[in-house]
Structures are given as C-alpha cells and as structure tokens.
C-alpha cells in the first residue's frame, strides 16, 4: 500500500514482547512505520516523547495504559495520547476493543477515520495470535491430562494387579460415580499417591 499511510508512525505497547515481530510485520506490510515497541517495564513516557508516534496500539491488558492516559490528563508536555473512542456513548468501539484485547491511542487529535484501518490490522493480528496461543495452551493441557491419566492408570495396575484396559475402565467408572472429569480424578489419584509415598 502507498502514500497516505507512509507518514503514520506507530508505537506498540504490549506485555507479550514475543508478539512484537508479528505486529510489526503486519503493520509494515500495510504500509505503516513502527517507531517503537515498549512494555510496561520500560519508561513509557520517555518512549512516547522520543518516538513521537501518531498512533499507539496497546494491549488492552497492559498496565502501562494508565501511564499513557495520564499523559493526556496531566502532562502539559507534548505529545498527548488520547484514547481512541472519543465520542460519548461510543460503546460499540469499546466493546470491540474489550473483545479483541487491543486498543489504540491517537496523539494530538488525529482524525479517527485515519486510524480505523490500523486498528483493523492490529485487531486481526491480535486475535490470530491469541488463537494460536489458546491452541498451544490447549495442547499443553491435553498433554498434561494424558500424563496424569497414564500415571493414575499405572498406579491402579500396580496396586490392584489390573491390566491396562481394566485399570482404565475402573478409572472411568470412578470418575462417573463422582461426577468428575477423568483428568481431574487422575490428578487427585496421583496427588494422593505422592502424598502417601
């Protein structure tokens, strides 16, 4: 993409620093310039003053948002980031931000329609990234569950002299009787066994 975007400078505020390359690549591909990347542990105010961004894309869950907002409310020095949803009662935009986990600040009253496409890119990337993370987390959990179930099965086989199929059937029946998830029951069996060792 071309000219209108070239001049727009973007600063990223994100607690998940591993997301920076993804965001930077997407925004650069869309023709924007990423002029800074900060987390809450950095000196945010100094970074904003140094990088002089037009727009700040912020992870909704970054504690550093309170610092950004204070620059608008308190600091007389330039620049002054202003939270994007500027119209009273613009609840839809806020709902969208809350759902997507990303929000934007414009610096010194840039026209809101200029940042809409940036936000769209950012929201899309955030959601994709989140989905990937969620999937990874799920896989990790499932692996953990499998490990616990296998361990519990092994314990039952040893203690009760059962074969694998019978031990698994017993585990399933116990879980059903107790209205517990299989993995949950397996975890408590493993924990109890560790305790009694």
């Amino acid at each position: 993409m071309t000219l209108p975007n070239d001049s727009l400078r973007i600063l990223l505020l994100d607690e998940q620093a591993e997301r920076f390359p993804v965001m930077e690549a997407a925004l650069t591909a869309a023709g924007y310039q990423v002029v800074g990347k900060v987390t809450t542990a950095d000196n945010i105010q100094a970074a904003v003053e140094r990088a002089r961004p037009d727009v700040i894309i912020a992870d909704l869950d970054s504690p550093g948002r309170d610092t950004l907002e204070s620059m608008q409310a308190l600091n007389r020095k330039q620049p002054r980031p202003i939270v994007m949803f500027t119209n009273d009662g613009d609840r839809d935009t806020i709902q969208l931000a809350v759902q997507s986990g990303v929000t934007a600040y414009v610096v010194d009253g840039m026209a809101p329609d200029r940042i809409k496409p940036i936000l769209e890119v950012a929201m899309l990337r955030f959601q994709e990234y989140q989905k990937l993370r969620d999937e990874l987390e799920l896989t990790r959990l499932q692996l953990n569950e499998r490990k616990h179930i296998d361990k519990a099965k092994g314990l039952l086989m040893k203690r009760k002299g059962l074969d694998e199929a019978k031990a698994y059937a017993l585990l399933r029946r116990m879980a059903m009787d107790r209205h517990m998830k299989l993995a949950e029951l397996a975890r408590s069996i493993v924990a109890a066994a560790e305790l009694l060792e």
């Binding site: 607690e15 809450t40 542990a41 000196n43 105010q45 909704l60 869950d61 970054s62 504690p63 550093g64 948002r65 309170d66 610092t67 950004l68 907002e69 204070s70 620059m71 608008q72 409310a73 308190l74 600091n75 007389r76 202003i82 939270v83 949803f85 500027t86 009273d88 009662g89 609840r91 806020i94 709902q95 931000a97 809350v98 929000t103």
Partner: protein
C-alpha cells in the same frame, strides 16, 4: 442460575480489594444467593472500559474516577454510580533511600513529621534548581486518584507546586519498586502493600501515610454501571448488603489473621501475609469503623474541589450537582436499617476537616477528618475555599 445472573466484578490486586475478595472467600456472596465472578484487572483504564462495555457489572474503583468517568474527563464516558465506600485511607508516600538520606543530611529532623519532611523537600528542590539539577520525579497510580490529589495537597502545603517544582508521572503500582531502583522516580504514592514491598526490598523509605494528609479519606468505592443497577435493583441491594457484612467482619481485630491468610492466597493478592499485615498498619486502612462505608457527599465535593484546583475541571458547579445522582447514600441507608446499624441524621454534613478526633453525629460515630494544614472545607462554598490556597492552577494564578 444462568450465565446472565452472574455478576462480574473487577478489582486491582491491592489490600483495599479485601471486601470483595473476602466476601467471595468466606462464601458470603453465595450465602446471599448471588453468583459473583471476580476478575483481576491490569489497569484502571481496563476497569473503566469493561464497565463501559458491560463486560463488568461492577468494580472496585478509585473514588475520583467515579466522577471523572461520569464527566468523560478521559474521553470515555459511562454512567457509573456508587453507594458504598470499600475503605478509607490505605496509601503511603514512599521516597527512595537516596532522597531520604539527602533530606536527613540537610535537616536531621527531616523525617520527624510530614510537615518537616515536606519543608525539607522544598529546600532540597531549591538547592537542586540553583545547581541546575533536575527536579525530583514522583509517581502516582492514576491521574484521577486520591493518590494524586493527596500527594499534591501535601506538596502544596509545603510550598511546592506539583506541576512546576517536581515532575509528576503515572506508573502502575506493580512497576513502582523497579522504577525506584532504576532511579527513574524519586518517590511515589500508591496503595498498600506496594509501599511496604519497596521498603522491605531496601529501595524505598515509607515517609508518611496519606492519613496524615487527610484523616480518613475515602479511597475505593464499589462502582456499578447505572443500567445494570436499574435493571437489577434486588441483586444490587444484596450485593451491597454482603459487602457491608464483610466490612463488619473485617473490622473485628480477631478476624485479622484469617483475613490476611485468605488474602495472601495466589488467586487473591498472592503476597506474603506479613507484607499485607505491614501494609494494613502503614496504610491505616479502615474498612468499616466510624462510618467508613457511608458515601458522604461532602467528601466527593472535596475531590471535585481538588480537580478544579489543579485544572482538571474548569469549575465545580456541574460536578457537584452530579453528586446526588452518582454517589447517593439512599440505598446505603436502606441497608443500614435492614442490618440494624446506627444511622447519622438525614442531612449529611457539608463540612470536612473540622475534627482531629472521632466525633458523634446524631446516633453515629464518625472518624477524624482533619487536613494536614488544618484548613477547613465547606461544600457550599468551594470557590471561597479554593481562594485560600497560594498554590494552584486556578486561572489568574
């Protein structure tokens, strides 16, 4: 009970979230037939956005934010309201070890009182200016907060202009210790247990509690979205009833140890009970006694006066007129009657700062409410009140 009956309440991990966390831990919400889900949030901006979006029905909120969000001062507007103060006090002012040492060298008595410390600070600032050195930087947690207004009040009482003579910045509480260590800030005002964490790690010195600046300042409120409150009047009443009962439980010193152990759990505050204990003492947290939970309109009017004093609001009139709608004590009174608690007379006092010790107002015992400089406030004469201050951002200053 279906999903829509769940009340989502947001909080920041601070000692003054105790009424919410303990109501959940002690099972008081469940006992009252309420399904409450507590959500730990990362920033005040987040809490505001989620209240506005309806993802949260209620939240622990900085009392000045109740006003700033209703007025849309940070560009996001939501009709929030509160009829319950979660606690009074709770904040401390911390300075770096280096600043403390510099103060002591200049004046061995510097740390003796909040008066001597601020006067010494002023002399230090003068010295630095004469030498062409940078002014000190102090951090607060949010622009519209008692931390900000009480730190400003203390500085100004000592002759220091908070916008001209020092740098004020906003930093999330979780970053205060690190930034103090890095030398990016020279001091901060935050809710406990952050001050005690800084002190225990050897990076900060606990200079004073904001109690010294204004005795028993209201600190956090339980704010709800007006739409939710209107549509769920019965749930809202029960919610406040539970919080009042929890605050009474918290006020019993015999429950202190259990409270600290519950709060220390990883899913609550995740901080050592010892820090919470020190934080409680240093912050002089008051969760119930002396009418602490009562939404006093004059307290909110004083906060409005400070917003005007520092140029955060052009004038007090509109904001003061809003107080009855957003910070009314009507529901609170109903609940006190229902719980058999003593109630002060109907006409709430307009004056603040007249009492250096607890005092009796009708049937109710109220707390001391003195300001550090002894100046008294009357919500019916805010303009005249503000004229007394040599240091402010009022037009014409």
């Amino acid at each position: 009970m279906n999903q829509s009956d769940t009340i989502n309440l947001g909080y920041l991990p601070l000692l003054d979230a105790a009424p919410l966390l303990l109501a959940q831990e002690l099972g008081y919400f469940t006992d009252a037939g309420l399904k409450v889900s507590l959500s730990r949030e990362a920033s005040w901006a987040n809490i505001r956005d989620k209240l506005c979006a309806g993802t949260l029905q209620g939240a622990q909120l900085l009392i000045p934010m109740l006003m700033s969000v209703n007025l849309g001062l940070n560009r996001v507007h939501a009709p929030l309201r509160s009829s319950f103060v979660l606690n009074q006090n709770g904040n401390t002012i911390i300075v770096s070890k280096a600043l403390r040492d510099a103060m002591k060298i200049l004046n061995p008595e510097a740390l003796a009182s909040p008066h001597t410390s601020v006067l010494t600070l002023k002399r230090l600032l003068q010295q630095r200016r004469e030498r062409g050195e940078a002014a000190f930087t102090f951090a607060v947690v949010y622009p519209f907060s008692c931390h900000n207004y009480l730190l400003r009040y203390w500085l100004a009482a000592g002759g220091i202009h908070p916008d001209h003579d020092v740098n004020l910045v906003v930093i999330p509480p979780s970053q205060m210790v690190a930034q103090l260590n890095h030398g990016r800030i020279d001091g901060f005002c935050a809710g406990e247990p952050w001050g005690q964490l800084a002190a225990s790690m050897g990076s900060g010195h606990s200079l004073l509690s904001t109690y010294e600046v204004w005795h028993n300042a209201p600190e956090k409120v339980l704010a709800v979205h007006g739409d939710w409150a209107d549509a769920h009047a019965e749930q809202y009443r029960r919610l406040l009833t539970v919080l009042l009962r929890t605050c009474r439980w918290l006020a019993e010193t015999t429950n202190r140890e259990e409270a600290l152990l519950l709060l220390a759990q990883p899913h609550c505050l995740g901080t050592e009970p010892a820090f919470l204990h020190w934080g409680w003492l240093a912050g002089k947290h008051n969760f119930h006694q002396h009418g602490a939970n009562h939404p006093w309109p004059a307290h909110m009017a004083w906060i409005v006066s400070q917003m005007v004093r520092w140029g955060h609001l052009p004038d007090a009139k509109g904001a003061v007129e809003l107080i009855d709608a957003i910070f009314s004590d009507r529901l609170f009174r109903t609940i006190c009657v229902q719980e058999g608690l003593a109630l002060p007379p109907d006409n709430a006092p307009t004056q603040v700062g007249y009492h250096a010790a607890p005092w009796q107002y009708g049937d109710a015992s109220l707390g001391a409410d003195r300001f550090i400089d002894g100046i008294r406030f009357d919500s019916s004469a805010i303009t005249e009140y503000l004229r007394q201050f040599a240091i402010s951002n009022l037009p014409g200053e």
